[in-house]
Structure formats: structure tokens, C-alpha cells
Symmetry: C2
Subunit: 492 residues, 2 copies
């Protein structure tokens, strides 16, 4: 591997030739010249950097050199771990985040109370194919978050395979009643931004159970909504309709779903056994965790940068959304380390309960509306700790153009575009309640749904450089917004 963009700028050839030939020396020398011409235009900064170029470079250098937010994420993942709303892990995460921000010496650190749903998975799920030649076949499964349990002894029923919500209606009660409905829709691999592929398949998880119940089904299993092909099941939330019986629902690993398809093709009378012991508890008291650096010129105008602190219960929530949590903390931390004194108040908000209720985001917006706090803009990072690609911004066109004028400040292979339209689940209520413009961070999404809501979303799935480049990109954008304002009103 030696292409010019990764070549050798010391003028030393790396090939082992023994003894090496004249043609090789010539080749190496020319390769080096080529390498230099390819590297320098991008990798070496101009001699006369503007203040903005210097600051952005300093932000990237600090993040890449120390990896401090990467190690903070490791601590969250390994010393706290899973942190579903209402759980003991979530409460430990709240205390952890407050302690971290206080330790960093932010001007103000506080908790915002919010009541959150409290659902527990219970014992490990059992889903198996029975009444087959093989005796029985165990499948890897996770209860969909919010599912009711099965009867204590489990349920056993024949299976009907469908590929959409609509197909359930088409098949009708005769085909569905008394059965377990298997939603077998696969992720659309052709969509480049995998979020849209997810969006196209997630309906079977969220709305599938009530739809099946309407036609008399006794349970639901789905092919996990995921981009890869391993057997890790991916959980996530479901939504029961108020007037329909609540039936138990579980997500199967991709390979388990394939197994079920094959068995049913050959043995259509095979039945599924499901045992879920999940439980709903009363709402619990929890908290959004908030830290801020007070603005030097406009302290009453807030620039919010957020992620969510809660995670699903089956993993460490490293990408979802430990990454966003340390991205948010990291903006303030980096500003303090580099001596950047913001003009506006910069506020990091770690929201509680994004995954199964959005209560933290809703509460935050309610309070902001009541108190009349002014938010200049809110940015969320909730798409993982992967290499940065761009931002999406729900802002006026002139603001969008201003943001885009800053694109040359971002190093090549970091932020290359700013789309019109963007935000995040947690800051959506703030936008709706107060009209605050929003921004969503967009990292490379190719691996995101390999890990999303699955036991594989662990710290080891995060690359240090990718995480820190994302954090540096966000901090740089916040720096520029703070310095110039949305309308350029701060420019001198």
C-alpha cells in the first residue's frame, strides 16, 4: 500500500530490494515527488493562517492528539455500561456525567428532573422453532423494547410470514388469527445513507405488533432492522395502539430469521415457541444532565450541543449515543483547554430517555418555553462516532449559505457538505416549542446499523480517530457559530 496520498514525505523509499536496482531508486525518487505534490496542498497549512484556520486546526490537533473524549467514552461504556431509562445504570450515568462536567470545571452544572418510562427485559428471551424434524431449533432473539411478556409458560403458535404492515391487512383475519406474525422485511442495501434504509424497514418493529394484533395474532417476531448479516438481534422501541390488544414481540438475528424462513419453506407446519418475561414498572424519576460555559458577551443566548445519555439495555451504547454524549461534553472541554472564551453561553445537554419515550427532550423544551430561555441554535450528535461527513441544518437559507461558506475551513476528509434540513430526536421538541433552529451531525453511516440497538454496540466498535474527528468537526462549527452568529451579527 503506497499511493501518493499516503506516501513518504521524508524522501526515503520503503521497499525492500536487495540489492536494489537503479530503476527502483529512480522509481522511488519520482514516487516521492509525486507523493509530496499530492500531500502538501491539503496536509500543510498555508503559511499565513487566518485566526479561524488556526483555531480549527488547534481544535482538531487537540482532539486527535489526546483522544481524551475517546477515553471518556471508554469510561462511560465500561464503568457504567447499559443505561436504559429507569434502570440503575441510567442513574449511575447521570451521576457520572455530572461528576465529569464538574470535574472539568464548567461554569455551571445541574440536573433537570424528568419522569421516564421504566421497562425491564427480564430473563433472557427464548424463541425456538418446534414441531420440526430437527426436534427444536433455538433462535437468537431480543424482546422489542416495551413489549409485554408472554404467558409465564410461553406461547406456541404457527407462523405466518409477511413483509409489510400492509400485507397483514391483505391477508386478513383468517390467515392471521391465532398465529405468530413474522415480519421478514430486510434492510434496503441500495440506500447510501443507511438511516433511510433503516427508516424504510423500522415500521415492522414499531407498528408491526399492533397491526398483527388487530387481526388476531398472538405474537410477533421480526427480522432485526440492521444493515449487516450476523446473528446479533437488534432491539428498539415499539408502539402499541391504545385500543388494540398488546401482544409480545421479539426481534430475531439476521441468520436466525434466515433459518426460520428456510424451515418454514420445507415444514410450513412448524410452530414457534416464545417466552418473554419483560415487565413495565411505574414511571421513574430521572434527569437530563446539563453543563455550560457562560458567554462573555451574550450570556442569555444559548448555543446547545447535545446527545442522549440513555441507551438500550443490551449493550454499552457506545455509538448510540455515548459518542454523542462525549461529543457534547467535548465541545466545552476543548474550548476550555484551548482558552476559547465563547461569546454566547455554550450548553451541553445529555438528554435522558431518547430511546423509549423522548421524555428528556420534551421536558427540556417545556422548561425552555416556560422560562423563556433563548436558544440561538441547537445541535445534536446521535448518529454514531464514525468519520465525519457533513451536517444537516434546519435554518433559514441565508444562514445555510453562511454555514456553507465555512466549509473550506474543515480539513479534507472531514466535513464536506451541509444539507438543508437536520436536527435530532432530542432537540426536535425544542424546535417545535420555541422555533429554535437545529443542526444534526452526519457521520459516515455505513457501519451504523451493524451495531445500532444490538449487543455489539460496545466501546470496541468505536475508532479513536473517527470519534475525535467527529467531535472536532462539531466543536469547530460551534466555534464559528459562536464567533459570527447565525446572521453574521457578531462579525466585526
Amino acid at each position: 500500500m503506497l499511493s501518493p496520498h499516503q506516501g513518504n514525505i521524508l524522501g526515503i523509499a520503503r521497499k525492500a530490494i536487495l540489492p536494489f536496482s537503479l530503476s527502483f531508486i529512480l522509481a522511488a525518487t519520482l514516487a516521492v515527488a509525486l507523493a509530496i505534490s499530492a500531500i502538501f496542498p491539503r496536509e500543510v497549512r498555508a503559511q499565513t493562517q487566518t485566526e479561524d484556520e488556526q483555531t480549527v486546526t488547534a481544535i482538531f490537533n487537540e482532539r486527535l492528539t489526546t483522544g481524551e473524549m475517546y477515553y471518556l467514552l471508554e469510561d462511560l461504556c465500561k464503568s457504567i455500561g447499559p443505561r436504559l431509562s429507569g434502570s440503575e445504570g441510567a442513574e449511575r450515568a447521570v451521576a457520572w456525567a455530572k461528576e465529569v462536567m464538574e470535574g472539568y470545571g464548567f461554569d455551571r452544572v445541574y440536573l433537570q428532573e424528568v419522569m421516564v418510562p421504566h421497562w425491564e427485559r427480564g430473563d433472557p428471551e427464548q424463541v425456538r422453532i418446534v414441531d420440526v424434524e430437527e426436534g427444536m431449533i433455538e433462535l437468537r432473539a431480543l424482546a422489542i423494547g416495551g413489549s409485554v411478556p408472554t404467558a409465564p409458560t410461553g406461547i406456541t403458535a404457527p407462523v405466518v410470514v409477511v413483509h409489510s404492515i400492509e400485507e397483514v391487512e391483505e391477508l386478513g383475519r383468517d390467515a392471521i388469527e391465532g398465529k405468530i406474525v413474522f415480519y421478514n422485511r430486510a434492510f434496503d442495501q441500495t440506500v447510501i445513507g443507511t438511516g433511510a434504509g433503516y427508516g424504510g424497514a423500522v415500521g415492522q418493529r414499531s407498528a408491526g405488533p399492533s397491526q398483527a394484533a388487530k387481526y388476531g395474532a398472538v405474537g410477533v417476531v421480526i427480522r432485526s432492522v440492521a444493515s449487516n448479516f450476523d446473528d446479533a438481534p437488534h432491539t428498539g422501541g415499539l408502539r402499541y395502539l391504545a385500543d388494540v390488544e398488546r401482544i409480545p414481540a421479539a426481534a430475531l438475528g439476521f441468520q436466525s430469521a434466515d433459518r426460520l424462513v428456510r424451515v418454514l419453506e420445507e415444514q410450513p407446519d412448524a410452530r414457534l415457541f416464545m417466552h418473554l418475561s419483560s415487565k413495565w414498572h411505574p414511571d421513574a424519576l430521572s434527569h437530563n444532565v446539563i453543563g455550560e460555559i457562560r458567554g462573555s458577551e451574550r450570556p442569555d443566548e444559548i448555543i446547545l450541543v447535545g446527545g442522549h445519555l440513555d441507551s438500550w439495555d443490551v449493550a454499552e451504547g457506545a455509538h448510540d449515543d455515548g459518542a454523542g454524549s462525549v461529543h457534547a461534553i467535548g465541545v466545552l472541554r476543548t474550548f476550555m483547554k484551548l482558552g476559547i472564551r465563547p461569546r454566547h453561553t455554550i450548553r451541553a445537554v445529555l438528554f435522558m430517555n431518547e430511546e423509549n419515550g423522548l421524555r428528556g427532550g420534551i421536558k427540556y423544551a417545556e422548561v425552555a418555553k416556560e422560562t423563556g430561555e433563548k436558544h440561538l441554535i441547537a445541535l445534536e450528535s446521535d448518529a454514531g462516532g464514525f468519520s465525519p461527513r457533513g451536517f444537516g441544518a434546519s435554518v433559514d437559507d441565508d444562514v445555510l449559505e453562511r454555514f456553507r461558506s465555512w466549509l473550506p475551513l474543515f480539513p479534507q476528509n472531514t466535513i464536506s457538505y451541509i444539507n438543508k434540513g437536520g436536527g435530532g430526536a432530542d432537540i426536535g421538541p425544542l424546535r417545535r416549542e420555541t422555533g429554535t433552529p437545529t443542526i444534526g451531525f452526519i457521520p459516515d453511516s455505513q457501519r451504523a446499523f451493524d451495531y445500532h440497538h444490538a449487543p455489539t454496540d460496545v466501546f470496541e466498535a468505536v475508532n479513536r480517530r473517527e470519534l475525535e474527528l467527529g467531535g472536532a468537526s462539531i466543536a469547530s462549527l460551534i466555534y464559528l457559530i459562536d464567533k459570527y452568529g447565525l446572521k453574521g451579527e457578531m462579525a466585526q
Copy 2:
């Protein structure tokens, strides 16, 4: 994780709220509207696609849907495995590649003879710290490719730590003679394109051993040239100067290098024991593997797309350069599957011996010059199977502008730039011998040097979507070049 760019386009909320509130339904509805506005501009193609848009879309869809080149890479990695020049693995890889291309029905598949160096690592390396309180401390190490062996009983010597080639000269013979020189220069984490970080540190591996020998050193160890912090040692080539004694050299894992640093700080008299049993054999006969689809209009003008088939001996060479090999084959395969009949001859070249000699690239260029074959352009993929970012092209300015005019055809989050200057090690000789313009494929580089030349460069380190997006990007560029020509001379 639910930001607008990855939201739900079915109009179904994914949150579990039980029972769910009116404010939530409102929030969900608005979130969906937001999601749609964010997704559609990019993810849904215009109703009236041009032929180019249709073809590029078809290429991406084919690659992402089938993952065929990903599974071909799996076969190369798992059924062939390591394939250093001169090894039995390399010869099996040659036969494998020929059989694959013949099986795909390319118009012409043939081998091009080339004599290659043949170096063998021998027994597992032993490097340990001795004469210390702890008794002895084993370090993880790999001989640098091309290193001479130690004496059969190993060597033991005190250690002198340096951070550059220049420092050896500054310290001089008094400090170096009889010692093992430890080059402890670390990868520069601040460089965004990691290839340049690699280039800045690789001199200690390639030129470090002879430099140390000039001043009387008896051996060399280096901190592996790598971007991450695990303990996998990274091999690679070295270059002995002709008039200097050849001394054995090994690369230490990052953590092993740290360990050595700490021990030497407290116990400067600690010595290193090294045992390498590597061996040089006479040059061996090997082959470049070549396959082509004959052009329908200009069959005598060749568009070359290449990677290298050889790999280091310690890994599967999945990213380096199995990825490039299947990228090259994949262009032809995809054209045939989609019924794209090229105007020029499209030739896939899997070069032999990039890693330790470049003999395949040199031989290919010699033959091309002798026969007078005309190459329109040559593209190499040798930077890994990661998400695509851009291309670098060593072409005239007007050609570069033409290439850049095609950028809107590439989906967002794939190719976002074409730099001036680029190519690859294997196609460098062709450029120099015949003046052929060259292009290098540039994937995201953040993880590349975590795996590069290390035992961790295995199939499991490759993501299916990332690999196929790179392959689709390359195939799309080749399609456009073939259709229009470099100067637009084929446009109708």
C-alpha cells in the same frame, strides 16, 4: 438514534410510549415531515434521470445488493490467505485470480511472467528485555520484511533510544556502537489523511537499519508505524544500503514499545535479546494476472484498473490489497453483469510484488513500453476497502476539470473530491515509462494504519458496504472515462 437524515419515511413513529401522548404523536408526525425533507433531496433520484445517472445508480445498486466482491474477497482471504512474493500462497493466489477471471468470462485472461524476490520470515520472532529485575520481559515483534537473521543463538545488547534517522548521526558512533538502536518515533496523530502520518514515520523502518549500522549498531527495533495503540506489530519493507553491514531489524507492537520505554527509564542498563531466523532465497518466477474486456470502438486503447495481489506474510492482506484486487476485478464483472459494453479495452491488472520489490509494476511497464501498447489512463486502488472519499488524478488540468464535472453523479457520502495528483505504487512505473496518466482511489483513511501490514489485516476488518461503495465509485469513474474519453473526444 433518530436524526432526520436517518428517520422513518413510512410515517410510523418508532418510540415506545405506553400509552402514548398527544404531544408525542404530534412530535412524531413533525419528525417524520422533517425526516422526509432531509432524506428525499438526496436519496430519491429525480424522475428524469440522465443515462449517466441511471448507469451510476445501477452500478451502486448492483454492488450494494449482491456484495459479490465482498464474498470474493472472503474467498481470497480465507482460502488463499497470506501471499508474500515467492511463497506458495502467492502462487496459489495467481492461479486463483486467473480462475476467477476466466470463470467470469472476461474476453481475455493471461499471466505475465515476472521474477520476484523471495524472503521468508522463518520461526516466530523472539524479542525480550533481559537483565532486569523482572527477570525477562517478552515483547511482541515481527522481523521487518527483508531483514537478515540474527546469529542462530540470537543477539543480546544494550539499547539506545532515538526518534529519528538524524538523531543517530547526532549521537554518533560512541553512543551507537555495539548497541541495539530503538527507533521510537510515533505516528503523527494530527495529520487527517493518515497516509501522510505514515509517511512521516516510515523512514525509521525503511532506512533506519542501515543508518544505525553505519554507526556500529548490531541490531534495530522500531515502534511499529501504525495509527492505533494495540500490541500488534506492523511489518513492512526495509532498504539496506549496499555498502553498509546488514543488521537484523524488528518492529515492536505499540504497547511493547511503551513497555521498553518505561523499563529503560528505570533500568537503563537493561538489554534486549533478539532472535530472527529469516532467510533470503533466489528470485522466484511469479506473475501479474491480467484480464480484460475488449473495447467495442477503440480496442487498442487500454483503461487499466489495478491493485496488487501479493500481501505481507503475517496476515490475509484483506485491506492491503485484497480490497484493491477485488475492486479491479469488480469493474469488469459489474460492466458485464449490467451489460455495459465499453468503448475502450478495460483491463484489470493484479500486480505481483508491490510489497517488497515492485517488480510486477516495473515489469508491466517494461512490457507496455516494448510492445507500444497504448494506455489511456491507469487507476490503482491500494489504500484499503474503506468508505470512499475521493480520487487523486495526475492528469492535465482540463482533464481534471472534466473529471470534477462528474462529481454530482456520485451519491452523497461517496466521492466528494478529485485532487490534483495521484496514482499508485504499481502504476508509477507505467506513468514514468510511457507517460500514462494515473489515478489513485482515496478511501477514508482513519482505520487504514490500524491494520496495515499487521496480523490484524484480515477479512473481518472489512465492512461489506464500505468495500462495495469503493468498488462502485471506481467502476463509475471508469465508466465515465470510457464513455467520454479524457478530452471529451468520445462525446457525441
